[in-house]
């Protein structure tokens, strides 16, 4: 190309038009060429920049959700307050509400602070309890009800710190911001700093975020994604159990048996259109057909799974057909030649050979379904629904639950910024699942794919 000129240098005193002399026109054309190439590089760089920015935002904001600040103090479970009659009767113990436990915990905190010589800078010593999460009384109560023999003893408890204190140690909450906050004062932070120095308070890994349930609006420190993860799991079971057989059966028919007629054309057009229908329309379909007409339970993973099945089917059908098409006709001919029926040639020979491709497509379809949110909002799989793990397989399918992406959406909607951290953390977990599924799909393809 015209780049040669640069190496040889312009010839002296030559004619105006020469290969060795770069005319203004050539210069302009070369500059345009360089610009065009630069645009391309810039476009790719922008795309990759967005990818990096997304990942940085996710990791930077989400990783703190996996750590949590805990307060470890001995709590004296006074008999006089928790079991007045002293007979450890479970029914009478259950009558003492969390309000009964609250002073016990607060007293324990004050005692622990005094034992370490930490000064309590409040007029009312009781105010120091805001350092702890509102959930601690329930935590102590549950422990006592599960094991009434503990009453009267002093037990070491690992209690959640409140979300503001937690945010302070993660750098989310600053002292300036607390001036406008009525939940916590700067003095609390002084106490918290002193507690960290004394070893009473520690920020450690938080398994409850991964395995726990969602919590109410006011206690972000307690919220976890575990229950919605189970909801997602049950939905994926439904999708896998329905979409894989139906999708494979439909593709086999369309690819191997279907005659060229109007009905086949209609099916083909339908499948390619369904693949492009907005996901929210599938949500409307699910709401109208499964809930309005069939009266299936609202918010149930079963319904969510059905809706996602309909949504995933086109993806699975398209990829299955591609892998069936990739099996060479000679395989079919050989099977037919030794006397197999058409059905036998497909099920005994073509299908097993296409299986790796089908599985890859199915896993990718499942990954897509796992991250889908919009249709779930319409069938009610959102909001503060399930606070406990389902108690059995049937209840896992039928009882109201959420799903990972819907739970993330729910957290993103809440007013308390502490929930944003949970939402980002939830996204990390969701992406880990998606990444694992995609890597499995790629490995399957690498390992088993055959080129004919």
């Amino acid at each position: 190309m015209s780049d040669f000129t640069a190496d040889n240098g312009p010839a002296k005193g030559d004619a105006k038009s020469s290969l060795f002399h770069e005319t203004t026109r050539t210069k302009r054309r070369n500059a345009a060429e360089a610009r065009f190439k630069a645009y391309g590089i810039a476009a790719i760089a922008t795309g990759l920049f967005f990818l990096v920015a997304l990942l940085v935002a996710i990791l930077g904001n989400g990783l703190p959700a996996f750590k949590q600040t805990f307060v470890t103090i001995p709590v004296e479970l006074t008999e006089a307050k928790l079991d007045k009659s002293g007979n450890r009767n479970p029914e009478e113990l259950a009558k003492v509400s969390t309000f009964g436990y609250k002073p016990v915990v607060t007293d324990a905190l004050i005692a622990a602070l005094k034992a370490e010589g930490i000064e309590i800078p409040f007029a009312k010593e009781k105010d120091v309890e805001d350092i702890l999460s509102a959930s601690v009384a329930a935590q102590v109560r549950d422990t006592v009800l599960a094991n009434p023999d503990l009453i009267g003893e002093t037990v070491e408890f690992r209690l959640l710190a409140s979300s503001r204190v937690d945010g302070y140690f993660k750098g989310r909450v600053t002292r300036d911001a607390l001036a406008r906050d009525k939940n916590l004062d700067a003095e609390h932070l002084d106490v918290a700093d002193a507690m960290v120095a004394a070893g009473l308070m520690k920020t450690t890994f938080n398994a409850d975020f991964i395995f726990g349930a969602d919590a109410s609006e006011s206690r972000p420190e307690q919220a976890g994604i575990g229950v919605s993860m189970v909801g997602s799991l049950f939905m994926m079971i439904v999708v896998l159990a329905l979409a894989l057989p139906i999708g494979v059966a439909a593709s086999i028919y369309l690819e191997e048996f279907a005659p060229q007629n109007k009905w086949t054309d209609l099916i083909e057009v339908n499948i390619s259109n369904l693949a492009a229908v907005p996901s929210i329309v599938f949500g409307i379909l699910g709401l109208a057909v499964f809930i309005q007409i069939a009266h299936l339970p609202q918010s149930a993973p079963l319904v969510g799974g059905l809706v996602l099945t309909l949504m995933t089917l086109p993806t699975i059908i398209i990829s299955t057909r591609a892998s069936l098409k990739a099996v060479p006709p000679s395989i079919r001919d050989a099977a037919l030649g030794v006397g197999a029926s058409k059905m036998q040639s497909v099920f005994h020979h073509v299908l097993p050979l296409a299986m790796p491709g089908i599985l890859t497509g199915t896993i990718i379809g499942l990954a897509q379904a796992l991250g889908e949110t919009a249709p779930l909002l319409l069938i009610g799989m959102v909001g503060f629904i399930a606070s406990n793990m389902p108690d059995g397989i049937a209840s896992g399918f039928i009882d109201p639950n959420s799903a990972m992406p819907a739970q993330i959406y729910e957290w993103a909607k809440r007013a308390d910024p502490a929930y944003y951290e949970r939402a980002w953390g939830g996204i990390i977990i969701l992406l880990v699942f998606l990444m694992t599924m995609n890597i499995i799909a790629v490995l399957l393809r690498r390992r088993f794919e055959r080129r004919w």
């Binding site: 060429e33 476009a43 795309g47 997304l54 099916i267 369904l274 379909l285 059908i317 058409k342 998606l434």
Partner: protein, 488 residues
């Protein structure tokens, strides 16, 4: 009989049928496999299918029809005075179901006997307290007709379940008997099994049609219902969107349309240049190594769920735009983090891989001979791309852009989290505006009462959305297909 047990029973019957059918055929041929028409397993499978298909079909049909029949019977028991329209009838019926459920639980826990549950009267017992004691909280005192309907509901359900067991087992046994009687060594078992399997395959393929039909019907019926309550002209040409569940709401779609198109246009302005240039660079300039790394990395963007982009818009891009265009310290054009610009930018990022991989395919489909011809005449690479490759690929690229536009219009999570909730007809891209999809979500979320115009409007919105995206998709596919034919 519990459903699960019934299911297991039918499957077990099928498996027994498989073994017996196979044995019977072999016996008929005196154990000589050469005398059989088909392989022995086909005789077994024939019986298995003859048991499973009628049994399970009866079960499915019953499960679908029973609630409808019972609903119809029970709702006719409720006096006309108790409800004014269909919506309040639905409310009464859900009360009935709840009371019936409560009675079931009470019987299960032993606080009521079966006879008591059938015979109690509101005049004699405080039902609400009784059911409250077993953990079923009712909103109001139980009216006597509700209780009667609930009792009827329970008896009909019990009878129905009993009848279902009989019907399902009857169908399965009939299939079993007929297929067993037909089994002999000359029976064409393979052919009949293959015919049934082919039928099942056709059925599976038709689910796509059923889904489309389901979408269209559920949208159409509810949309018609909506237009009975709210005039269609006001819906399509109204310029105000202010739903209020108390009544007197204005439901004009134009502001929502404007928001949708504004966001989509910004998204396309981001995605099309970046995606197109990326595709051109990857297919015309990049070496195999760069391509092998950059292409999958760009496609990672397409695999990220939209909720992630939504959060990115709400919590990262929105605040970032605020520091530049916001009121304190910035240019003062922006009131809050949610805006058309926020959602549009992020949606554009989401669409980059969509545009780039589609255009990449199309550019690669342009025959190499055309490039060689152009380069041979002395054109530079960029001139070749601009004057030869792109014009040849143009129809396909337009198709790709249309597909991207239909994606943008139907996208939900990014706009729900990033675009805001105020319906406005405004030109400022830094204002919060709302879109068709966000309104569908907000009108329908968690609401099972489809009687009011405010809830039904979501179906009309969904219908509009469905029609627009369908037209765009078909148009795009036609363009792409037509173009592909030129070079194949």
């Amino acid at each position: 009989m519990p459903l699960l047990w019934l299911f297991i029973l039918v499957v077990a019957l099928g498996l027994i049928g498989f073994i017996l059918g196979r044995t019977r055929a072999l016996k008929d041929a005196n154990g000589d496999i050469r005398l059989l028409h088909s392989l022995p397993n086909y005789y077994g499978s024939n019986v298995l299918l003859a048991v499973l298909i009628p049994g399970l079909a009866a079960m499915l049909l019953w499960l679908i029809l029973q609630p409808m029949v019972i609903q119809g019977q029970v709702s006719s028991m409720i006096p006309d005075t108790a409800y004014t329209d269909k919506g309040s009838l639905n409310l009464v019926m859900s009360d009935v179901r709840r009371v019936a459920e409560g009675l079931d639980i009470a019987v299960e826990q032993g606080t009521l006997t079966r006879e008591q549950a059938r015979d109690i009267r509101t005049e004699l017992t405080d039902i609400r307290a009784r059911l409250g004691a077993v953990g079923v909280a009712l909103g109001s005192n139980v009216e006597s007709y509700v209780l009667k309907a609930a009792q009827k509901y329970r008896t009909m359900n019990a009878v129905g379940n009993w009848m279902m067991t009989v019907a399902v087992l009857g169908a399965a046994l009939a299939g079993f008997a007929v297929s067993m009687l037909r089994t002999n060594k000359d029976m064409r078992a393979r052919n009949s099994v293959e015919r049934v399997i082919q039928g099942l395959l056709i059925g599976a393929a038709s689910i796509a049609i059923l889904t489309t039909l389901g979408i269209v019907l559920s949208l159409i019926f509810n949309t018609i219902e909506f237009f009975k309550l709210y005039p269609a002209l006001d819906f399509f040409f109204g310029t105000t969107w202010s739903p209020s569940f108390g009544g007197g709401s204005e439901l004009g779609i134009l502001p929502l349309f404007w928001g949708t198109f504004y966001v989509s246009i910004i998204a396309l302005l981001v995605a099309v240049p970046i995606g197109l240039f990326a595709a051109i660079y990857l297919s015309e300039y990049a070496g195999p190594k760069v391509r092998a790394i950059a292409k999958p990395l760009l496609e990672v963007l397409a695999g990220i769920p939209t909720i992630v982009y939504g959060l990115f818009a709400l919590l990262t891009v929105g605040p970032m735009l605020m520091t530049v265009f916001g009121a304190d310290g910035g240019l003062g054009w922006m009131q809050g983090g949610r805006s058309v610009m926020t959602a549009g930018l992020v949606m554009g990022v989401m669409l980059i891989p969509f545009v780039s991989s589609l255009s990449d395919d199309i550019i690669n489909a342009v025959p190499q001979a055309m490039r060689d011809g152009s380069l041979g005449l002395g054109a530079t690479k960029s001139e070749t791309v601009r004057q030869v490759v792109l014009p040849a690929a143009l129809p396909g690229i337009v198709g790709a852009i249309l597909l991207a536009a239909s994606r943008a219009i139907g996208e939900t999570m990014i706009v729900v989290l990033g675009a805001g909730a105020a319906a406005k007809l405004n030109l400022n891209p830094f204002e919060a505006m709302t879109t068709v999809t966000t309104r569908i979500v907000s009108q329908l979320t968690g609401d099972a009462d489809f009687a009011s115009a405010e809830a039904l409007v979501a179906f009309a919105l969904g219908m509009t959305l469905f029609v627009i995206t369908l037209v765009l998709n078909i148009f795009a596919l036609v363009i792409v297909r037509k173009y592909r034919e030129q070079y194949d």
